[in-house]
Symmetry: C2
Subunit: 369 residues, 2 copies
């Protein structure tokens, strides 16, 4: 197909094949900044989900949020875990600190509720696998909330790569920096390794890593990383991280992330017959500015931004209602945690860490290291 | 100084302080594609050098080149080494296969001729150091021909970085891919490790590495790399390479190069207070398209390309005539070879290789490894 055809109807929902009438009733668990500012507005604006319950540690403050978004029910974590209001929702969106994901997701699976869970799926591979196992056994959908996979620019890029428009991908560069302390205080759980599972790698680096895996439709075979921290308040986690991945074949990816640098993101793929450059892919509002070169041809596409969080929740709602397995599933979430665990091991040892791609979804420690 | 002031008189030669009347008479050694297509036209177009002698393995073919560029003398390599025509030149430009750089540069130094030598300075640190030592002892200038260091976009970037416009640099991404076999045949010396000293890393990767070192005004403290080759005709060198450098402080650089991918190059620096992105910096004709963000400010500068090779030779001629030490000197050339040797060791072992920055210009093996 001609290059320009990829960009026609750029924002098409290629995943939306059947018509669906109803909505999936969601309990939103963890009412932090992202839930308030992005998730709740996106669910309200979208088609296939509605928020019916807010699960919170602070009922008083959350009541205001409930009013704003016309959500009828508010319950605290204990109440949720005890099964209160369980008839009021069909699925949960877990948006708590990472180390609590399993607690709330497992409780949902026990009650046969579907789960969409923020990334990373948990703080360790073994706990993420508990979530995946529980959802599978309960027969409920599990989606890891990789919003980029529903972002039209990224989906069009994946089609271009899959169709060989840039040949075989050889080198990827992806970076995401976000000055955390301009948006939150230094006592944030994101700087607590027990609650977050790590620092910039876990919170930001996971975007270029997951997006690269998604675009190449492949898992890395080895990982190298270095981490840097300048001290308080970044003394317990990686403030900056630089990761190098090797994929089957010749492709490598250089992925960086920083908690303490100018807000910026970039993604570039160079292939044997072309290249793709996406401007600001990871920052949450993608400007849809993409440059594609294929042989002698060059094309730049710019378009209005799409709310990728709305796309994400609509995709989840569609999957639940049509019985479609979400593409960013538990296995996908586990695969990134394997990369993250290997990256931290590499940063510690200074060695390249090999990953067995046949064990996608398994724990590194299963290898008996 | 305000951001826009950096871009006023963008192409200014900040290095050109004194007025100089004469020209440096050059013997150009090795009349390959780059000499014919870029160096000889640039010297002719420039102000401070002129080509008076061509040194070649093929006198018959080179006679045509001499006619085209109105160069009076042609001599073969043996004649040059024997001192023929030594009165006809003041300096030499060494543009032979890398493994012959020392041979011709040392001969020049013996005759007290100044030297501008293509990158890499040689195929190994110890041989590059022989060149540097010989030139120092002879009291002649030695410049490693890093054209990027004379390219206005790169020089303006260095000023921006030095002045803290983007804060402390945290992460650099630099890539350079060039489909070698579209420009030359598979029997090129560039694919012979004895003559070239390596593959894509030596020929292309050296650009992002040297440019990053130049922009940060720092040497890396550790190197990690992976190399990939798909087989014949790339079976003896790295077809693709991916290098990760750590600098003093927190900065890291991800540098990639490929002999067998779409022609493409990119450079991006992210700092604590801004970022710089240079479009296509390494391909030989820089479009001078640069985006700078500093705090809340954003500026894009585009300008007409500058012939950086002309800038390079004019700078060399100016340095020789004014007794200025060229900035890309022997130490600079040696520093990149240390990085390259460490990168190949890292690719072989899978380990991060530490470099002692206090030993800039020294050989890795001096450390007694």
């Amino acid at each position: 197909m001609a290059l320009e055809e990829y960009f026609e109807n750029f924002r098409r929902r290629d995943w939306e094949r059947d018509s669906v009438d109803g909505t999936v009733r969601l309990a939103v668990i963890g009412i932090g900044g992202f839930a308030r500012n992005r998730a709740l507005p996106a669910i309200r604006a979208g088609t296939y989900c509605e928020t019916t319950v807010l699960v919170t540690g602070s009922q008083r403050r959350t009541r205001e949020v409930a009013d704003e978004f016309a959500v009828e029910h508010v319950v605290d974590y204990e109440g949720y875990l005890a099964g209160e209001l369980a008839d009021e929702y069909d699925a949960v969106y877990v948006s708590t600190p990472n180390a609590y994901h399993a607690r709330y997701a497992l409780s949902a699976a026990q009650r046969e509720k579907h789960v969409i869970c923020e990334k990373p799926l948990e703080v360790r591979v073994d706990r993420a696998r508990e979530i995946a196992d529980a959802c599978r056994q309960a027969g409920v959908a599990l989606m890891t909330a990789y919003r980029l996979q529903l972002e039209p620019t990224v989906r069009r890029c994946r089609e271009l790569v899959a169709d060989g428009v840039i040949g075989d991908v050889v080198q990827v560069h992806g970076g995401f920096s976000h000055p955390l302390l301009e948006y939150t205080s230094a006592d944030t759980w994101r700087l607590d390794p027990e609650l977050a599972g790590g620092g910039a790698l876990v919170d930001l680096g996971i975007y270029p890593i997951n997006t690269t895996r998604y675009l190449l439709d492949a898992d890395p075979v080895s990982v190298y990383a270095s981490t840097h921290s300048s001290g308080d308040p970044f003394d317990r986690v990686d403030e900056h991280v630089s990761v190098q991945l090797e994929f089957p074949g010749d492709a490598t990816a250089a992925c960086t992330a920083s908690f303490d640098a100018h807000a910026s993101s970039q993604l570039q793929l160079v292939g044997t017959n072309g290249m793709i450059s996406v401007i600001s892919p990871f920052g949450g509002v993608v400007p849809q500015d993409i440059v594609v070169e294929s042989g002698e041809m060059r094309m730049e596409h710019t378009g209005p931004p799409v709310d990728e969080v709305r796309e994400e929740f609509d995709y989840f709602g569609y999957c639940v209602q049509t019985g479609t397995r979400p593409e960013p599933d538990g296995t996908d979430g586990i695969a990134d945690l394997r990369v993250i665990e290997a990256a931290y091991e590499s940063a510690e040892t200074g060695h390249r860490i090999e990953l067995d791609p046949s064990r996608r979804g398994a724990s590194n420690t299963d290898r008996g290291r």
